[in-house]
């Protein structure tokens, strides 16, 4: 099918690529069908583009690329809900927010990751029990101040 998008123009997709969010994404509950579009030359990023709303696209990142200690517990009820059979079928991504100040100040929401079952093409944004500051986790951690030279 042909899909209209603000960012990528009209794109042709295979219906099998459509990922469904049965519960929607918080604040965008009406938009349930998305596709994942890779970012060229950077394996850590991808786009989650709505099929039904051309202007709705989220930038996703592999959260393990910025926070090595990050983990998500896929419990039995989530496994049932997304029909997860094998761990290899599961993709965990988080949404990136780019503020007016630009990409260097971008953050990602580690508190509410997107869990995708690639096999069944079902996904959900889950909310973890964690620190609220993880909603805005910086992609580029602020550098420590340079120490004054003792020289």
């Amino acid at each position: 099918m042909l899909v209209k998008t603000r960012q990528f123009g009209e794109i042709s997709i295979d219906d099998k690529e459509i990922i469904t969010f049965p519960a929607g994404i918080l604040a965008f509950e009406e938009n349930r069908r998305f596709i994942i579009i890779p970012v060229e030359n950077n394996p850590f990023f991808s786009w989650l583009q709505s099929i039904d709303e051309p202007s709705l696209s989220f930038l996703l990142i592999d959260p393990f690329s910025i926070q090595l200690g990050f983990y998500v517990d896929i419990d039995e009820s989530l496994k049932d809900e997304l029909e997860i059979k094998k761990q290899e079928d599961v993709l965990v991504h988080t949404i990136v927010t780019i503020p007016k100040e630009g990409f260097k100040k971008a953050t990602t929401n580690l508190l509410a990751p997107i869990i995708i079952n690639l096999e069944k093409k079902k996904a959900k944004q889950i909310v973890l029990d964690g620190m609220p500051s993880y909603i805005k986790y910086p992609l580029f951690p602020p550098k420590e101040k340079l120490k004054a030279s003792s020289g």
Binding site: R6, Q7, I25, L26, A27, F28, V39, N41, N42, F44, F45, W47, S55, L56, S57, F58, L59, D62, F64, S65, I66, L68, D75, E76, S77, D80, E81, I95, V96, T97, I98, P99, G102, F103, K104, N109, L111, A112, Q125, V127, P132, I135, K136, L139, F140
Partner: protein
């Protein structure tokens, strides 16, 4: 909206298997005990609102604003 008065240790049952009990009241704080099936998400409202707000901020990201080459993974 349903408005209901409960005493300490009294509860309400929602949809058969979700139970909320008032465990105690201290000043302006109310402590609840909640039992619900595992699939039921139970969250503080402000957390859900914060995630909604963040999704709204993120929902119209544009590739024109991004220089992907500056991102170096710590992996």
């Amino acid at each position: 909206m349903l408005i209901i008065t409960r005493k300490i240790n009294e509860g309400i049952v929602i949809d058969g298997d979700i139970k909320i009990v008032v465990l105690g009241i201290e000043g302006n704080r109310v402590k609840f005990g909640i039992t619900a099936p595992r699939k039921t998400g139970v969250f503080r409202e402000e957390l859900i609102e914060a995630v909604k707000k963040e999704n709204q901020l993120a929902g119209n990201a544009s590739q024109a604003d991004i220089d992907f080459t500056i991102f170096k993974s710590s992996k």
